[in-house]
């Protein structure tokens, strides 16, 4: 069914600039799964950094541009829970585009959500003999509900785990604090620098204590923050976006 759909890839601006491999992996992965994907070249940023800093009202231009760029696609897929959540919940409403904007909230998906809920791919076959620790971004987890949150009394689920657990040799590592924030938080990373660093160090320590070899995640922003701390302290953990892992194992 999805073969005939027009799917747009939406990349967070910092992924476009700093992590082109994550974009490439996402597009290749979707194509391997039979999707027709294009990347609208005019796309910029969703406006989240400004809105979270208290300037949502200044993102009208950005939000309008986003709608114009993506409104004609059947699906919009992004390898980022955070940016998708922003588009759904914190874009200012744009006059003249109310219908398109409302429709967009039902057709924009974070990558693992799209794979599990729309494409309905089962556990993926392949081999990935590594100890993987997964960092669920808070916006993906508690915002988009991509995995169960430890505060709620709900049955455990995790969309990323669903995709990864079938891989031969992959060991899914359970952390001591399974869903504590890493401390990135956008501008928080610089306005509350001391706390941000401490939170990142604590999160890394949990992965290391549990002998994680590859720290994977669905949001590069969290990974960029933790990787920055890890690399400064030379502690040898590898970082991968889940799109990179899945694209690597699917031939």
């Amino acid at each position: 069914m999805h073969q005939n759909k027009n799917i747009a890839l939406f990349l967070p601006c910092y992924v476009d600039q700093f992590y082109p491999n994550v974009g490439i992996a996402t597009i290749q992965l979707l194509e391997k799964l039979g999707c027709k994907v294009s990347f609208p070249m005019d796309q910029t940023c969703c406006g989240q950094p400004m809105a979270n800093a208290g300037y949502e009202r200044d993102t009208v231009g950005t939000a309008k541009h986003f709608i114009k760029t993506f409104k004609d696609f059947d699906y919009i897929v992004a390898p980022s829970g955070s940016c998708v959540l922003h588009v759904k919940e914190h874009s200012p409403s744009i006059q003249g585009f109310e219908t398109e904007q409302a429709a967009m909230h039902h057709k924009i998906f974070e990558l693992t959500e799209f794979l599990v809920d729309v494409l309905r791919v089962g556990p993926i076959k392949g081999s990935y003999p590594h100890k993987v620790g997964f960092h669920s971004s808070c916006h993906g987890q508690r915002g988009l509900r991509l995995s169960a949150s430890s505060e709620l009394n709900e049955p455990p689920f995790n969309k990323a785990k669903q995709l990864l657990e079938g891989l031969e040799g992959l060991e899914w590592v359970e952390l001591d604090r399974k869903d504590e924030c890493c401390g990135f938080g956008g501008t928080f990373a610089v306005t509350e620098e001391a706390l941000s660093i401490q939170m990142g160090k604590d999160r890394l320590a949990d992965h290391q204590k549990n002998n994680v070899e590859i720290l994977a995640g669905g949001d590069m922003s969290c990974l960029m923050h933790m990787q920055g701390i890890s690399s400064r302290n030379n502690n040898g953990v590898k970082f991968k976006h889940i799109a990179e892992i899945l694209n690597e194992v699917i031939r």
Partner: protein
């Protein structure tokens, strides 16, 4: 100092910061476990949330009903517009009873009114009888947590304070020994006090009774020994019916400390023969908050403190870093309504991770309100500061694709060319303790153009 500055100071003592984080995590974890032992937990939260929504929509009527029933029960009811009126009312009651020394059980509301300082200035000796509160009172400190007022202190520190104030053995850190010393000390105060002051957890409109929850029984001890009971209550503490306690009491202690119920849930309905009960109903900005559509449901709070225990920021920066009577996430959405300028850094003391909203027993959307306060605060900033200029500039970039492309390649180029000393200088806060990502040769867009178009 604002929140980031105080947090940085708190984190300097690495060992203490780690201990603080782990101590509160222990409480959080206990709450997580116990909440999962109740199959209908989420249903309880939803019910509590709806009861409180109903209360906030009909607060005027419930308050009048409560007053009517309380008066019929023989309780004296007082209304206070603000902290000043509240304090005067309390002092007046004390003066009428010729009372120079009172015992007081835990009440964050009286902290909000700075009642202790006011009474002491007017010659009244106030003794906090909650153990944690007594400890911080010895230090002239406010509580650092609304449920665990002295959680920032280790038992060795408590031992030193007790040695100093209560003459306990120096270096004896045994919690039973210390608690016993406090008990003996407080007993004298209980026996001497003519007036006992308490807070209120729930005021029941249909019966005019009110409920005070403590773990130590100190509220009861104070009230039963005194001739006069003064209960100080925020107007949002109303619940419509007594049966609603079946929802709230199940949520309160489990959320607060992971206990199944608080040890003492005492109902006060009418004064015993020859005694008096006064209730002081305080507004102090609550009506104003009720009028703020985006923020009014912060008034649903039952003061369990779960959002503090779960908050990765609170655990690592301590209650005092907030500089507000109620610290932590709930404090950061209540305090800006009281003094926006003073508390303007608080809504930014969050990664918007959402843990506070998921843990809240009455389902306050705390992290959403933090986001909304950020919008209000930047609007209120009259002078154009550096951040707002940068943000305006960014909006310009992101709404024009060409400018974004140019900016991006310039940014990547600059990172490659700038010497390490500049990229990682103190000017670059990101780079102080974090490396920047390695700069790729081409952006995704460059790759896409080459390979896909």
């Amino acid at each position: 100092m604002n929140h980031p500055e105080k947090a940085a100071v708190f984190l300097e003592d690495k060992e203490n910061a780690k201990w603080h984080d782990e101590t509160l995590w222990f409480v959080r974890d206990k709450r997580d476990v116990v909440s999962k032992s109740i199959p209908e937990w989420e249903e309880l939260r939803e019910t509590a949330s709806q009861i409180k929504d109903n209360v906030l929509s009909n607060l005027d009527e419930y308050l009048v009903e409560f007053e009517r029933n309380a008066l019929a029960n023989g309780i004296k009811v007082h209304w206070a517009k603000d902290a000043e009126e509240h304090n005067k009312i309390v002092l007046n009651i004390l003066q009428q009873n010729d009372c120079k020394a009172i015992v007081k059980s835990k009440s964050i509301l009286t902290e909000e009114c700075h009642l202790n300082q006011y009474l002491e200035k007017n010659g009244v000796d106030v003794v906090d009888t909650d153990l944690g509160e007594r400890i911080v009172q010895f230090l002239n400190q406010p509580p650092s947590h609304i449920v665990l007022p002295a959680i920032h202190l280790k038992k060795a520190q408590v031992s030193d304070i007790f040695h100093d104030k209560l003459n306990t053995e120096k270096g004896n850190h045994d919690p039973s020994y210390l608690t016993n010393a406090a008990r003996l000390h407080l007993r004298e105060k209980f026996l001497a006090a003519k007036v006992a002051l308490t807070g209120v957890n729930f005021g029941v409109a249909e019966t005019g009774e009110f409920v005070v929850c403590t773990n130590e029984g100190n509220a009861d001890m104070g009230v039963h020994l005194a001739d006069v009971h003064v209960a100080c209550m925020g107007i949002e503490k109303i619940i419509p019916k007594r049966e609603h306690l079946g929802v709230f009491l199940r949520l309160l202690a489990r959320s607060a400390t992971g206990q199944s119920v608080t040890n003492y849930n005492s109902h006060f309905r009418s004064p015993a023969k020859g005694k008096e009960i006064h209730i002081v109903l305080l507004d102090n900005g609550r009506t104003e908050q009720l009028g703020r559509e985006k923020f009014k449901n912060s008034l649903k709070c039952i003061r369990c403190g779960a959002c503090m225990n779960t908050c990765p920021i609170y655990r690592r920066s301590g209650g005092y870093s907030y500089g507000s009577v109620v610290p932590g996430p709930i404090g950061s959405i209540l305090s800006p309504g009281i003094d926006l300028k003073k508390h303007s850094s608080l809504p930014f003391a969050s990664t918007l991770c959402g843990s506070c909203s998921d843990v809240c027993p009455v389902k306050i959307n705390i992290h959403e309100q933090l986001y909304e306060w950020r919008q209000e605060i930047t609007k209120a900033q009259t002078s154009i500061n550096a951040k707002s200029l940068a943000m305006k500039f960014a909006n310009g970039i992101f709404s024009v694709p060409f400018a974004y492309k140019l900016g991006g390649s310039m940014m990547r180029g600059a990172l490659k060319l700038l010497p390490h000393s500049i990229t990682y200088s103190n000017l670059n806060t990101w780079g102080k303790e974090r490396d920047l990502p390695e700069v790729p040769k081409e952006s995704f867009k460059d790759w896409y153009k080459k390979n896909k178009l």
